[in-house]
Structure formats: C-alpha cells, structure tokens
Amino acid sequence: MKKEFLLLALALMAAPQLLAQSPKDAETDSIPDEHEGMDFTMTESQLGEDDDMTNDVIQVGSASNVYTSNINYTWSAARFKFRALDNKYNDVYLNGMQVNNAENGRFQFSNIGGINDATRNRDAVNPFEDNTFSMSSLGGSTNYDFRAGNMATGQKITLSGCNRNYTLRAMYSYGSGWTKKGWAVYGTVGYRWSNMGTAYVDGTFYNSLSYFLAIQKKWGEKHMLNLATWGNPTERAQQGASTDEAYWLANDRQYNPYWGYQDGKKRASRIVNDFAPSVLLTWDYKIKDDMKLVTSAFFKYQKYSSTKLNYNGTNPAPDYWKNFPSYYYDVWETGTGEKDYDAWKSAYDYWKSGPEARQIRFDDLYFANSQLNKSKSDAIYYIQNRHNDQMTVGLSSNFNWNIDKTSKLSAGLQLNTNTGYHYQTMKDLLGGEYFHNVNTYAIGTYPDTDPRVQYDLNNPNKRIHVGDRFGYDYNINVQKFNVYAQYSKDMGRAHSFITGRIGGSRMWRDGHMRNGLFADNSYGKSGVGSFLDGGFKMGSTVNLGKGHAVTMGVGLEAKAPNAKDAFINPEMCNDFVTNLKNQKLVSAELGYAINNSWLRLNLNGYFYHTYQGTEWQCYFDDNEASFTYVSMSNVTRNAYGVELGAKFKVTSNFDIVALGTYSDSKYIGETDVNYMLSNKGTMEYSRCYMDGVHEGGTPMAVASLALNYRVKGWFLNLTGNYYDRIFMSATPVTRLESVYELWYKNNYRNAYIDENGRYRCDDVSQARGNGGFMLDASIGKQFKVAKRPLSVNLQLCNLTNNRGITTGGYEQSRSNYSVGTDGTISGRTYNFEKNPKKYYAQGFNFMLNVNYRF
C-alpha cells in the first residue's frame, strides 16, 4: 500500500495537478449541440444490457471537469470503466430518489434507454463534489430530473440509421411547457429496431419500444407535484464471447456462438426480454426562497428474463472446447498434449466448411429429443428461461437550505424495499416431451432414486413442460434506509464541504422449492442478515487566482454487502456466505485546474483502497462435474491513477480537446474462499492468491485527441483514441491454494510449499487483451426548414477499421488437466489458460441522425 501512496504522491508532484470546481455553466456550451442525441446512442447499446459482457460502464459526467464530461462519450467504444470501477459504485438518482438495483447495487441504464430527450436534464457529480442530493459515491453520482416542467418545450422528431446493435431508431417528443393554469406535460416515445439481417453482430436482433410520460402541476409558488412514468419493453438477442481460435476459424472477431440454424432459418439461443414499467411521484415544496424540500415516491415492477440453451448430453455450443482443432493438437507446444495432425485438420476443415458448422445445430437437437421421446426419456436439450423480476418501492426526501451567501446545508432520507423473484422456466423443449425436475449433476454422486437428487422434494420427480418452473425458485428480499447530511461553506479563497451518511440494510431469502441437497434449509425463509453502514467525505477547492485552482478530497466509508454476494448458493439453499462484512473504502483525490480564455484544464490524481470486501461467482468445475459457487471474502484492492482533460480554444470556432489517463486497480494479498459444489452441497475452504490481479474489462491507459471545428452551422470533429492496459477478468480456479496443493502433489507447474507451509505457485499470469488506436469522425449541420431547426449529423466510428481491440472478456474457469479418482492429474491437449473468452470492438460503423424541432 505504501508503494501506491508513494507513486501517487510522485505523480502528483511531477505534474501540475488536477481538477476544479469551476462553475458548471461555463462548460455547458462546450458540449456541442452535435453531441445531442449521441451521448446515449454511443453507449446505450453497451450499458448494462448484456449479462455476459462487461456491464460496468459508469455514467460520470460532471460538467465541471473536462475529463469526466467527455470520457463517457469518447471512450465508450472500448467500454472504458471510470477509475476501473464496477457500476455499483456509481449512484443514480431520479428526482432525488436512489434507484440502483437493491440486489447488486448497479443501475441498469437500459431501463432509461431510448428516452434520450427525457434524460437530458441531469446533475452529474464527481466522487468529491458536493451536491444537493447525496454523499457522492466512489464512482460519482447522477441525479436525473424527470419533471415535465423542466423539459424542452415543443415537438421533436429524431430519425437515426446505423449499423450497430440496432439499425433504425425513431423518436418523437413533445413538451408543453408551463400552461397559464400551472400544468406541464412532457412525453416521448421511441422505437429501436434491427433484425438478424441488419444487426452488426450476426445472429442478434433488437426490438425495443420506449416511452416516457410526465405531468406536473404547480400550486402557487410553493408546491409542485410531478408524476412520471416510463418503460421500454425490449426483446433482444445476445452475443457471446469466444476464443481467439474461434475468431480465427470464423475469420471474424464478431463471431457469435449463440445462434444457429433451424430448418435453414437463423435462430438465437439467448434472448433477453426486459420490461420495467416505473412510476415516480415527486412533490417539490419551496418552504422559503432559500429552503426547499423534494420528496419522491417510486414504484417499479421489472420483468426480466434471459434464455439459454442447456443440455444433459453433448454440449451443443459450437465453440465447445472439444470441437476446436487445438483439442487434438498441442498447438502451444507445451509438451503435454497430443499431436494428432489428422484430427486437427479434420476439425479445422469442419469449422471452415461453412457457417452451419460454426453455429448451433438446432436440427440435431430436435432430432435427438425426438429420438428420446420414443424411449420415454427426458429431453437432453432444452431452452431454459432464467427470470430475475424485481419489485421496488421507494421513498426519498431531500432538504436543501442556502443558509447564507457562503454556506449551504442539505440532508436527505432514502427508504427502499425490494423483492427479487428468481426462478427458471422451461422456454422450449426443442421437440422433447418433458423433463424431470431433478439435479442431473448430483446423479452419479447419488443414485437417481436418492432424494438428494430432487430439485424440489415437495414435488419430487415432477415432469416439466413448457412454461413450468424448475431448478430453482426463490425470492430475495432487501430493505434499506439511508440518511445523509452535507454542509458546504466558502471561506476566503476556499470552497469546502463535509458530508456524512448512515444506512442500514436487511436481507433474506425465501425459497419456494425444497432442494434435496438442502432439505432443511432451502424451503421457506432464511435468517435475516442486517448491516449498519455509513461514512463521510470532505473536500475543498482553493482558488489560487488568475484561473488556477487546487482541489482535494478524502472519504471513508463502510458499505454493506450486496444481496447478490451475500448467499453462497441462492439457487439451492438459504445459507449466507461466511465472513460477510461491510466493505471498507478509503479514497482520496487531488486536483489542479486552469480556467482562462484559451484553456480549460483538469489534472487529477486519485487513490482508493477497499478491504474486507466480498465477491461471489459461480462456474462449472469439470473435474468435479459440478457447478461451483465461490465466495471470496476479505478482498482487498488498491487503485490509483492520473486523469487529464484539457480543452484549448485555438480560435473562436476551433478547439482541441486532449484526454488521458493512466491507472491501475488490482487485488492485494490473498483472499479467503469458501466454495460449494452443487453436486454434493458441501462447503470447502481455501485461500485464493489474487495478489496483483488487475481489474478486467477496461482499458486502464487511454489517450485521445479531438479536433472540433465549427463554421457556418457546420460542425466537424475528428478524434483519435489510443487504448492500452486491458486485462481479462481473472478466474479464481488457477489461483486457489487447494488447486496448488493438487499441483504440488503431482509435481506440476513448479508448485511449492512456502515458509508458512502453504501451497503456492508463481507460474500463473493474468490473460491480457489487445489495445490499439481508433479514429472517429463526426460531421453535422443545422438547417432551417420552415423556420424551424433541422439537424443532421453523421458519426463515423473506427475509420481505420481496427477490429483488434479487446473490449472485455474473461479467463475460462476450467483446468488444463483432468483429475483421476486417485488424485493424479493428466494434462489435456487443449489449453484453457491460453484461450480466454474475449469480446472485440466493432470495426467501422456509422450512425446518421436527423432531428427536427417544431
């Protein structure tokens, strides 16, 4: 830790520093009109939409800082994560009501996708900025204003065409403005569409309708009531990550293994259906001119489901490891594998024989199930639908008081109760007649007549037909409260603030199936986990005069664990993970800012240290033929970085924006690991040596230069971006002490026993992705048609068609060897460690936007 502090200090000294709390309105004109409509179009298709992709994008955007106000838009193509932070560290508020998902802490930006015109009014604050609604989170906070009266007045039509996740988009919005009787109405409706023939990624489609309606009423000067409701029923097919070998064989880095042919037609296997109708009622009470109270009540009922092709036979995934040529030939020359060139060639030729060979063969699956019908056997291929429905009720109240010209006080309360309905239904039996609700992984460990193989002892051996629930069915309940208070004051040249919060949360599981492996602790309610958390932040901006300022901030926080990480195996039992504690966060930031007639510059250095964290994941362990549920506790991470944003105003119509960051975020030391095997239901303890493992799925070094030119209603932009330091999300599988013990006993990969008697191995390195250069351009023009403004804008992204930049991915949680019953390991030819699953950035793509106001 000391080293990082030293580095941070050095970095801060070497460069004139960081950021500033410059007046926000100074920046608003620097967001060119041409960005209108783009801010979300660039990112919305990537924000939290894909469970299998990195969905950690954060919408920072404090306009007070050149860096944060530009990076979302500019770096979204590479899935840049602000400060390498998970989205759960970014708090999102709507009219003062915090709406992050109660179970995982994340805000699903797709829930407000497609209503771009309604989400323009927002107050985004950086981690160390005071504000009117919160103690800003580690990754900043954003408060959207959903009041009808604050929306743009008039009508607007937007039409867009692009070759991305969707192909066409149309939006219409209307705002009445305030009527004489004190009413305001605002609404927008949009549709985004692509089919399998037009979507950028083969085998995907996008079908999304969005609506937003708000009505506001004013009574005198003191009271206003606003009712807003929105939602976007969306159906979309997902893209899956695959290995470089698959991309090479398919000659396409956007190769998507999640679809296949059925009777000659393309069919997607992973389809997400998502609809989260929401209602927000807000009462604005102006107590006095300098004192106001904003109170909001929120209700949301989200129906979310995601299909997946599952099997109890041969894995039907076209990119299943045994289908690859390198399954037969030791292409890595590790010396342990086979070298069967004929088989390699045969597999290679098969992959190259056409798209049918590289995709799911649905006809085979129907054939297999039809055959099994005859022997009255269960279907072995089926499409399951995993549901994650959420019902949220919330209440918030925020009080703001401008005590005098130099001091402000704000305080607020959040109450939230959430029920998550988690269950799995049978979507399609693919020609099969039925399926029994039994745990096929446990058969073998136990005879098929053993009650322990039942998923639901209350309905043993239930035959599952299409639409029936099977496998798991449980609710997660979360109740939360949070209060905060903030005081800010101008003293001489300094503006300073201090803010603190206290919160509490309770969580429990309620099982609707009595799982055979956990007959006594799976049905009904679990115990209740209760956590009290809180923290404080303080910061200061010192005006050095002549447009120079220094900013600084520190924060300490204890953060309650998320329900998502709190249960060891919620699909099967009520048990909480062991060692569940509040995560502790220490953070600091130092900045320097220049703001004069030709230059706006922000240079920031930050550091954060988190400890006693809990992380949870699950993967298939082929040596145990079982799903393994892994809870890592006592997780420690350090992160630091420098961030630069500079805008040079060369002439009145030409400016240059430079952005850059160099950062790191990594695990420190070892973590405790408790894991459970789903075929036995037993818990095991081990350690995980995660020391030095970097946060995956984001570039951690980025530099970009943008040229912006405006003339006679034209707007031209050219931006070059360079991305680097991209790591793959790491698996614990190759870092567990229990695994190193196995390696040591087999004299494998230089595993050894250290001075403390622990099994270690230093041979494992984290998989990395490729960085690279990307060039984007944008051209726009505003016309007058019937005296009303018509804007046309064309964005051209990745002009050099660089398809080699990794945007995310993960190490596979499987081993390079199999383990015999006597504990001896034998090497496999296929090398999982050298085959991480990756996503790559799209090649050249464009978007044409036309909007007309009237």
Partner: protein, 284 residues
Amino acid sequence: MKKSNILFALVLGAVSFTSCMDEDWKTHEGIIDNPPYGNNKIAVAEGSKVMTIGQLKSQYASVISANGCQQITDDVQLQVAVNGNDQGGNIYKQLSVQDATGGIIVGINATDQFAFMPVGQKVLINLKGAYIGGYGQMAQIGALYNDGIGRMDLNDWKGRMRILTQPESADSVAAVADTVDFDGNMGTDKLCGRIVRLKDVTISGTGTQTLAPDDGSVPLTSNCANRDIKGALNSTKIVLRTSTFSDFATRAIPEGKVTIYGVCTAFRGTYQILMRTNSDLIEQ
C-alpha cells in the same frame, strides 16, 4: 392540450402494439425421415458390398487376435443395429452394434451420442477407410492410434454412417433382436459386441457395497470397478464392469439372484459385461 392527447394516444398505441420478434419455433416435418445426423447421401448397398459382422471378424481374425490394426480398403458396408450406447454413462466413447452374426464395438471420439444413436436404431456404416483391429483381442472398428486401434473422429463417423430405421421399441432390452443367453462355450468371437443375458446369477460384493464406488474400497482400472459374476455360465472368469461415472455407480449391489443384460466385451480372456442403463440389472 391537443398535442398531449396525440402523445398519449401514440404511447398507448405503441405499447399495445409491441410484438415479439423471436419466432414460435416448432419441430419441422421430415426431421425424422431425413435425419440431420449422419450422411444421408450414402446409398444403401446390396449384394456383395454388404458384409456381416461375422464375415468382417473372420476376414480380419489374425489382426484382431494380434491386437493389431489395419485399414479397410474394400468398399463394403455393414447394416447393423445399435445395441449399446453411452446413455447410462457406463460405455465411454464407444457404440456397440450387432447383426444376426455377431456384434462389434465402434470407437468414436465423442460423448453423449445416445440420443442420436438409440438402442435398436438400424444404421449402415461405410467401412472403406476405417480401421479394424483388436484391443485385448476384442474386435473394434475405429481409427489408427499408436499403431493400435483407437477411436475415430466424430466427423469421420458422421460422414460414413447413415441412419436407416428408427428403434421399434422404447425398451432397450426389447429393442435388440437376437439377444443370447451368455454361454462361455460360444467363445469371444460370437459373444463380444452382442447383448447377452445372464440369468440367475449373483454379483460379488458384500454388505452395503455399491457397484462402482470411488472411495478406494475396490481397485479401479480406467475408473471402472469389476465385480465377479457367479452362476452356471461355462466360463472361468466373468465380471460386471461399471464406471464410477455411470448413473448407477452408486447403486447398492443386490444380495440375491439377479438377471443382467449388457454388452459382452472381453479383455485378455476375461469376459466383462457392461450394463447400459440402470434397468439392465433386474433383481429377482
């Protein structure tokens, strides 16, 4: 407020109009008559181009008994029925097929083939280019592996076989014609690869033992446990061979007399009976 009325109507209309993009997929006609698995282009041979398993085994008898391996160069075809597959997880990367003259093992480098190759299904196999050899002096069709007989690649298999007819019975015992009662006097040539019935036998193993535990209580070879079968079988050594990965590995050994159905195999003079599914072991 007229414009807002239009807006509300628009939103309401749009919400009620949303339709689903994913199709309502159904099994399409002809999937059974024209199976997507195998090579439907292979013509069904007649006359001298069709070989029986008995003829094949006798033609390559010396290769088989020497544990050798030889490529088949004649353009000949087997027309056989599947009698054993990997449904119960006991037979691994193999199929067994039989006709009226005997049975033979086919090594295929793939798992979970049972749904495509159910017991009782008739298939033809183009032999040209495939290998035949002996493993433990038992005949097997497959590919060359370390100078001996090994498993053929799945794509190779799919390219040289064609599904002819579907099983006539759902029952894996009834689906196989010509099941014989095991009699050691018949010899390995006649018995291996066939489904045999062993009546009124007992399985060794005492107390609470299971068929194939992996707790070290019984020695394992290739993850399989061998349990002696006792009865009037005219054979000195015969075992029930069960994989620890099979679905019935944890089944308790019945104490009394049983009837066993299974694929008869042999390894260096010992008969090894492989159950296919749990229902192949019937307690009397």
